[in-house]
């Protein structure tokens, strides 16, 4: 284990170009995926929390079921759509970062929606009433609700980030682990491990954890400053 830690530090500080590239790929792929998923999840979670409609219970159950899907299954399902043999093959996004984005958005959207929904439904009923009586329209109620519930919502977004930055099923199936293109930390770890390079695999894992920690730390700091 210590050997792996030493290897991780060595890789980072000797500026191994490929490792930096792989780490950067992991980071920007996950961040964009989470950003897109959050942009969809926040309004969706908001609607589910604050409005009652027919089929609400079924929708929530469906979201919970989606969250239990293993990443490989999600990868397989998306692959069958975007392969040239599939209905969306004409888009030509298989084995490009876009395919990974698609798969990862599908992975974290139900998770973030579900967490946002439960955070918002625990929010005081008086908040939307207060906002409405003071003259707020629907988008303003949405904005203020997100603002007042931002800690819990940040938690939800970070959970989504955690799910995608550490997953390998989708990245591998849809990205193809192509060197200098779609190779992420997770697919690289899988590759090195399959070659028996356990120490290198662990070292990459430590780098992955460091990135996840850094993102968490930064976002928490930003939110606290906004007060």
């Amino acid at each position: 284990m210590l050997g792996a830690l030493a290897e991780a530090i060595r890789l980072l500080f000797t500026g191994d170009r490929e490792v930096y590239f792989i780490a950067w790929t992991s980071l920007h792929l996950s961040l964009v995926s989470v950003a897109v998923a959050s942009a969809l999840s926040l309004p969706l979670g908001f609607l589910i929390a604050l409005k009652s409609f027919r089929g609400k219970k079924q929708l929530i159950a469906f979201l919970n079921a989606l969250m239990a899907l293993p990443t490989v299954v999600v990868g397989l399902l998306v692959y069958s759509f975007i392969s040239r043999a599939g209905p969306l093959g004409f888009l030509g996004i298989l084995f490009t970062p876009s395919a990974i984005h698609l798969g990862q958005v599908i992975l974290c959207l139900p998770l973030i929606t579900s967490l946002v929904y439960s955070a918002l439904s625990r929010l005081d009923r008086r908040l939307p009433e207060t906002l409405v009586t003071l003259g707020a329209r629907r988008t303003e109620v949405f904005r203020m609700t997100i603002l007042e519930g931002r800690i819990a919502i940040l938690s939800a977004v970070l959970s989504g980030f955690g799910r995608v930055v550490g997953e390998v099923g989708v990245a591998m199936m849809l990205g193809g682990n192509i060197r200098w293109y779609t190779r992420t930390l997770t697919t690289a770890i899988a590759l090195e491990t399959s070659k028996g390079e356990f120490e290198l695999g662990l070292a990459l894992g430590i780098i992955l954890m460091a990135i996840a920690f850094a993102v968490n730390f930064t976002l928490h700091g930003v939110i606290r400053h906004e007060r």
């Binding site: 008086r126 908040l127 009433e129 207060t130 409405v132 009586t133 003071l134 003259g135 707020a136 007060r227």
Partner: protein, 334 residues
Amino acid sequence: MSAEVLFAVEGVRFAYGTRVVLDVPRLSIRDGGVTVLMGPNGSGKTTLLKLLNGLYPPAAGRILYRGLPLGPDTMPRLRRETVLVHQDPYLFDGSVFGNVSYGLRLRRTPSSETRRRVAEALAAVGLQGFEHRRARRLSGGERQRVAVARALVLDPQVLFLDEPTASVDAASTDLIEAVVRRAAAAARCVILSSHHQGFAYRMADRLVCLADGRVVPGGENILKGSVEAADGMFTYFRTGAGLLRCPAQEGEFTTAVLPLEDVILSKGEIQSSAQNQFEGTVTAVESGDHTIRVTLDCGFPVRALVTGYSRATLGIEPGARFYATFKASAIRLY
């Protein structure tokens, strides 16, 4: 009173799930002064307030504001002209200024005007200089007043207050009372709910009694006035043209409450142990479920309950002259 009918409730029902919490076939609330919805907890007061403020649509029936039913066309006007303050209100995370100025910022009020109006609103609730305090760290009474300031700063025509004294200390109660009076005096209409009888009587120009989600006819005369004199035996309460003899007691009273059923009508003067007897003209006769409510003008309005039999036998009709008699002990002073 010939004030405009501000709100009209028609056939309104509201339920939480299967539990019906409000069932009001007909109710009018007039403009001006303070209207109090009084009743025990769970009687539907809060629900009615929220429906009047258009926060939720009724399950059945409709509500009219200034003669027009509440709907997408009329809602903007309602929002501009009315604000509701919750019992134990929700304050936004941040400063008092941030809270009180919120509505103004929504309306894109220029910041200099916002600052001025916020300062005025805070002064009106006795919180001058509180702009930079963190709203959520204030005491219960102070938080209530911040919420009232947050509403007042918008200059609403109608101010809804849900149980304004429920979560405040005694000192703040007096302040709230003063604020409410000031708001009502500024030609605004205040509609508040309370389960606290004394507060309700003192504040109310008009009283609506609720029980179990239904409006029950008020069983009391509420007379506004002041104490004119007192001797060892009686306190003399002036209301309109009448001077009421009430049991001797100390205090600055503004309201005398006299149950309808304690008022006896007679064609002529009667000699009795009752200390109060006034002559007046019948101005209104309303048939109720089992009794008839008669309103008399004795220089002040007094209402009594009689049976149909009495009405017929005595000929109680508008314009007729009768005497109203009641005991001093029947009067409660607030």
